[in-house]
Symmetry: C3
Subunit: 208 residues, 3 copies
């Protein structure tokens, strides 16, 4: 198993937990709905990336490990959802983990398929935010990518780290970990301190 | 006309009626909105399937009969919508018919394009639930695939029947009809008896 | 720079302004949300078109001018949003401009990639209404294409003008301008006079 695949499956698992717990918490769905939302959240970003790259059918459909990881994640989340007391914090942390891992694996896959620097950063970001955006639309929330403190920006940073490293000739594990760590750190700091990006002039609201 | 095409067009017609009646009932749209939602519901699942298979442009765009069937279905539904008294039952039955027919035709098309067993079952299910999911998002409802009693499961069963039969060498009409019938039966039973899949532990609600 | 590219970039800019101002007005997002919604609105229709045509990766990802135009449009809208007083009229006019330009450029691109007459008209319409539909879903509104007075119909007319002209051997700038002008005129008249398409029989509401 390559490092990229391990990171990708970890991201898939984190997003499956997140999506399934969101289904329990936000929409109070039954087991099929819970596992379905977990799987859509886990697989949506990668499917979007592969559709946009023209790498069809998506990796998700060609490699059973993605489907299996997403399904197991959804089932685990369903099983433990009573104990989690539907707390918001673990849900948000799983989301931040998936975001960070998919930003670097998405960007690395785009590079490996010959996409340019700017495209790869963008596709990494889309991979990272895609599943969560579909999740939010399905449970009728304004997507995090539009409303959250620092959601797209940490993904852009994480993707940029691996793309720049790859351009400089280093496609190793180190920079993937650094990129994901940078994304995760910025995202968690943004959540912890409720940092917001600037609001429109004259908006009359202050961050925080 | 092959059996697969006939079943596909029947499914298209059922979903066009369903989507257009939903537009009248749930969102009180004008004729363009009604026919548009009918066509999106009817064609959305097949378009998703073809995008995921990389079979582009989608069949819908290469064969005018899909577009024509979807448009006629939408117009018919608009014309009769006064008489239907916006009742929920025919809308749900058209949805169940479209679900059942698309589960088997979607799975069969995936098989015929060389997809594996698991992929074909999944793609059949996506074809079946895709149009209705887009419909629900557009009229701002939590999608049936997440919230309904037994919606994805009957589609999985219907798709599995034709995929297993095809693996055993039989791609004839019989198993398509059996698969669609199994899906329709489970779906209608689920609706009739309001069967729900299990809910999360500690949810405090009983199915019923 | 070809005429098609100029019209496409103008449409991109108009939709970026529209999407970003919508983000300020409808959802009161921060700068990242505002620019993100502007870019999604500006690029969504063209991405949908290219996915459906199998022309992947989308033009948006291969030509930095689309991304740059969309980003600048979003930033400009963010900067001036205080002065616009969040008025509805400029937002709607930018939407009508994007709709008109994308209807003709989308149809022309479909023709140039070998799509048939009906397909090209449909793909032009999808290009025109696609970005705004994604925008509306993300900020949780019933999409204009379903609910608005004359939204899809002017796009169909604009797309049909360039497709018919191209069939008759004339792919010049003149008919693109005529098509976009026809679309814009119908759309603005529809908005100004609140013309609605016919409603379902027995609906009990009158247009206006």
């Amino acid at each position: 198993m390559t490092t990229a695949l391990v990171l990708d499956l970890l991201g898939t698992f984190a997003f499956a937990l997140n999506g399934a717990l969101t289904a329990v918490r936000a929409a109070r769905l039954d087991i099929v709905g819970v596992v379905t939302l977990g799987m859509i959240t886990a697989l949506g970003g990668g499917i979007l990336r592969d559709v946009l790259l023209g790498a069809l059918p998506p990796a998700t459909f060609n490699d059973w490990r993605y489907l299996a990881t997403a399904a197991v994640g959804g089932l685990v989340a369903f099983g433990v959802s009573g104990r989690f007391d539907r707390a918001a914090t673990p849900i948000a942390v799983f989301d931040a983990l998936g975001l960070s891992l998919f930003a670097v694996t998405g960007a690395a896959k785009a590079m490996s398929l010959g996409a340019g620097v700017g495209q790869s950063v963008l596709l990494g970001t889309i991979t990272a935010v895609g599943g969560g955006t579909i999740r939010d639309v399905l449970v009728r929330r304004v997507p995090s990518v539009l409303s959250s403190e620092l959601y797209a920006i940490p993904a852009l940073v994480g993707a940029a780290v691996v793309v720049v490293a790859a351009r400089l000739g280093d496609t190793g594990t180190l920079w993937a970990v650094v990129g994901a760590g940078a994304c995760l750190t910025i995202r968690l700091l943004g959540m912890g301190f409720r940092l917001d990006a600037p609001r429109p002039p004259g908006d009359g609201r202050t961050a925080g």
